[in-house]
Amino acid sequence: MIKRLKINDVEREIDATPEMRLLDLLRSQLKLTGTKEGCGEGECGACSMLLNGEVIDSCLMLVGQLKDGDEILTVEGLGDVDHLSPLQECFVHEGGAQCGICTPGMLMAAHALLRKNPRPTREEIATAISGNLCRCTGYVKIIDAIEKASQASKAGKVRKGKG
């Protein structure tokens, strides 16, 4: 099954079996391994990414459910080690990551929030990341990081022209 998608702002044609999970398309076929698999059943949010601007679990979506023109944003589309997005920088500075497995999903859930609501309250931040589990930080520093990012002028932006 061939689909024409926009992945991290680049138009790509993909060919995959329709029953393949979007998560497997990203990680195994496209080698975008920033997106993690945690529980594989929609409980932990480690595989979060944006589909047409909305955060979803990529472990619970099949390639067949995509349509031509769908826009996918993964953590690779936010920034990279040399060119962090403002949100990623705030995670680093506020200590919003420890072991790191939840971090890409947290970033994507936070990014989805800041696109729609650039100045969220801490309560709104907590709700926005309520579908993402972290077993290290206790969430406070993650919420601090997202709050800090929301105070920067470029919150909700991806880093352009990286690499």
Binding site: E41, G42, L62, G64, Q65, T127, A128, S130, G131
Partner: protein
């Protein structure tokens, strides 16, 4: 064997597929339940009928009589709808208590209904509102009242060749107060131990009418007609609240499972009703 991934472009083609091999390929909407059941080995899947192309099943329309919600409306869309938020706040609350944002963005109300789990969070709300469900097959369509819809554990009144297309909820009384209350292990990403939707018209502390629906306390979501009858026409006093709490605890028939125990669920169901009744009297 190759996986039969069917993606019909319109309702008649979807119905033709369902009629050709009834029950063989499950209907796939948001996938937040079906894909989990498939991947965890609870069900075997040789193919699906993916209905996500069917634009006629989307959207929420408002009429003088009430709202009609397309089976493919997501929990996030329903909760964000202004009329739902204002007139059916218990439905909006229920939709926002399902999973987290990721699940609310993909999961659909039709999927929640057809999955027919006793713990489905929108189901007590639909039962308490006496919603109607529109089922369509190649020969026509029929409305099924909520009270006749959930016929057994994860079983609905739909025939294998019928597709759920729409849900109709009548506009509530402007003077009624409704509430959706849920007990889970945590606020997000938790399947209900007990959930309750109550609606009622309470005047000067007296109950004109009340409708009570409870989830996770029986093989299906259920109404509590005994407790509704007990409260109707009564003044809500502390002793009346105790009677109602005990009546509801007697009226439900929960089980022990991984999430909770039968005893706790009986107690918590009564407790949620007591909370609603106390809030109603403190406002009156």
């Amino acid at each position: 064997m190759t996986f039969a991934y069917n993606r019909p472009p319109n309702i008649p083609e979807a119905l033709a597929l369902m009629t050709a091999s009834p029950g063989t390929f499950p209907v796939l909407a948001g996938g937040t339940d079906l894909i989990v059941q498939w991947r965890s080995g609870i069900i075997k899947l040789d193919g699906v009928i993916d209905i996500s192309e069917l634009a006629q099943l989307r959207g929420i329309s408002v009429t003088d009589e009430g709202v009609e919600i397309g089976a493919l409306a997501t929990h996030a869309e329903i909760a964000a709808n202004g009329v739902v938020a204002q007139r059916f706040p218990s439905l909006a609350t229920a939709c926002l208590s399902i999973g987290g944002p990721q699940i609310q963005n993909r999961g659909t109300i039709g999927g929640n209904v057809m999955n027919a789990s006793p713990a489905g969070d929108t189901l007590p709300v639909l039962l308490a509102h006496d919603a109607d469900f529109l089922a369509q097959d190649l020969t026509g369509e029929r409305w099924i009242p909520a009270r006749e819809f959930f016929v057994g554990y994860r079983k609905t009144a739909l025939k294998p060749q019928e597709l759920l297309t729409r849900i109709r909820i009548r506009m509530p009384d402007t003077k009624e107060r409704g509430s959706f209350l849920k007990v889970g292990a945590r606020r997000a990403q938790a399947i209900s131990k007990v959930s309750l939707c109550v609606r009622g018209r309470i005047r000067h502390g007296g109950v004109d009418w009340i409708k009570i629906a409870v989830g996770s306390v029986a093989p299906t979501p259920i109404r509590a007609p005994g407790t509704e009858a007990l409260l109707t026409g009564k003044v809500i006093t502390d002793s009346m609240i105790e009677l109602a709490r005990n009546s509801l605890a007697d009226e439900v028939f929960p089980i022990d499972d991984i999430r909770s125990t039968a005893d706790y669920r009986r107690f918590a169901a009564g407790g949620l009703l007591a909370r609603y009744l106390r809030e109603m009297t403190s406002r009156a």
